[in-house]
Symmetry: C2
Subunit: 322 residues, 2 copies
């Protein structure tokens, strides 16, 4: 069983996770479009430069498929948003050659990418939705009506990580910061949780790990502690059954005055996956099992609670010239 | 020779650097005020929680001194700005017990902390200085006179990292973002370099490594490549002789239209130190040598050029409850 992690970026730890699994006896390859991606210098069995996926879609898919054939790759794990979109459209091409591309159907990705579509999905399925305004006038009317007050929070309609997100403290500041394709929401200040939910090939949840976030950094979870939380558990199960994603889903949930608000859904291995993995729930192994044709049986609350996971500075080097 | 790194934060790599040195035969201890600091879970010989340095100065110094006695610490290496200020005022107390606290004199720190004092120092010593405005009216006058145009860059007078820094594209945005104790400068877009200059105990430079920055993240150098650069080399030497800091100094320099502008001076081990160390210049060993009473002889251009250093995601865990 050979695995290829594409656009690995800084996540060299995924290579270590796969190799640490005793039963694993294949090779782990890594690829990126940037030769200075630190993951290319991790403990892999081969690194490859591929074209930039979005700018050169056809060439990217052709070169990726060719690489998979050449290295007898069984599973491709993309970990960044732009690439999962693209590969979702082409996964059948890989499936024909028994190569599993770990990505959900395109409809699932569309629901997750746009915060407006995500809100529609949540509303339709009976979940609480954060009040959302798509323009300054709409916000002003609500503000005049007393239904929202500053500070508010602005974010892009389609966004990943925390880029261009931020608290805004006045109408003046809002006018200066607000751009097209942004949303305005109340600033939520409750505890934030990350949930990793793994669905089997029929779109049914089989694993679930809840982590309370203690600190963020560059839009990624920096420190988190695994917890059990009944309300979040049942919400996440219900959501995963409705969404019917494939494999990993990384949910962000804020608990505000007793209500649970889903604020982000990423149908891929998220930046907070290390905590899930190290708490004893190995999504990577499940994917290999599924490639072998067996869907895992559901098993919940099977993780170590109270595990604090902290991201650290690792360092990789390479010689660029002599 | 025992070493203590205080408020280690995410820099567990410093422990590895010291221990990787063949001639090192002591212990490396780590301390932080936050029990979730990942560096506390590095490959150390003992971790200690200390009070928050700034909020509880007297208690901090007393507990640190007591810890040093108890663990027979020879060298204390503080790595964050608030702490170097504080320890600079108390270093003699430690020196009396033959404990070397790696920090410059208070006057040096004052010059480095305030961008206005730094500019005075640079001007007085004949270096180029980035045009700097301390208020919106002053900026408006210069803008009307045609000496500066948007976008401009705002930053705190006293600041570390990139917090509250940013490009500002209009007077409207400036009015919304500008606060007391901020500076306005032209937005420089030239290549940025990090320079580590090590001074001996008489304040004379003995080592110097230049790195071209390729990428930043959360205000720290994320990717850099070591280079030789004659102009920067002679500027940094001249600056270090004028500043007379002790031990490490981390300089940030932008080359804009052929002129060199010093934009930041940090008289401590900076976030970009790993590149210097891995290129073959070991500041940590020099400090141990100096504690032993021998100042190192000057040696320049003794590093590996073309070494690309990338920061990666490392992961540490601990159990917080059973």
């Amino acid at each position: 069983m050979n695995v290829l992690i594409t656009n690995i970026g800084r996540r060299g730890y995924l290579v270590d996770f796969i190799k640490a699994e005793e039963s694993f006896c294949g090779q782990v390859f890594v690829a990126d479009c940037d030769e200075t991606a630190s993951g290319l210098y991790s403990n892999h069995d081969g690194r490859f430069l591929l074209p930039r996926p979005v700018e050169e879609e056809a060439r990217y898919v052709a070169e990726l498929l060719s690489l998979c054939r050449q290295q007898a790759v069984d599973i491709v794990i993309p970990v960044i948003d732009p690439e999962i979109y693209l590969l979702s459209k082409h996964k059948e091409l890989f499936a024909k050659e028994r190569i599993l591309v770990v990505v959900s159907d395109f409809g699932v990705l569309e629901t997750c990418c746009s915060k407006l579509k995500m809100n529609d999905f949540l509303r339709k399925n009976g979940f609480d939705v954060v009040p959302t305004f798509t323009g300054i006038r709409q916000l002003e009317a609500a503000h005049a009506g007393g239904t929202i007050d500053f500070p508010v929070f602005i974010k892009p309609v389609n966004g990943s990580g925390s880029s261009n997100c931020g608290a805004v403290h006045s109408l003046e500041e809002l006018n200066a910061s607000f751009r097209e394709q942004m949303l305005i929401q109340p600033l939520l200040t409750g505890d934030e949780y990350g949930v990793d939910v793994f669905n089997d090939s029929s779109g049914m949840p089989v694993r679930l790990v809840i982590k309370k976030k203690l600190a963020m950094r560059s839009g990624e979870t920096d420190k988190a502690v695994t917890v059990f939380h009944e309300q979040i558990h049942s919400l996440a199960l219900r959501l995963a059954k409705a969404l019917k994603h494939f494999g990993p889903l990384d949910l962000d949930i804020i608990v505000e005055q007793g209500r649970l608000y889903v604020i982000d859904m990423n149908p891929r291995l998220g930046g907070g996956y290390p905590a899930t993995h190290l708490a004893g729930v190995d999504f990577l192994q499940l994917l290999m099992q599924m490639h072998g044709g067996t869907d895992p049986a559901p098993e919940f609350n099977n993780y170590k609670a109270g595990l604090l996971t902290m991201k650290d500075i690792g360092i990789k080097t390479c010689i660029t010239r002599s």
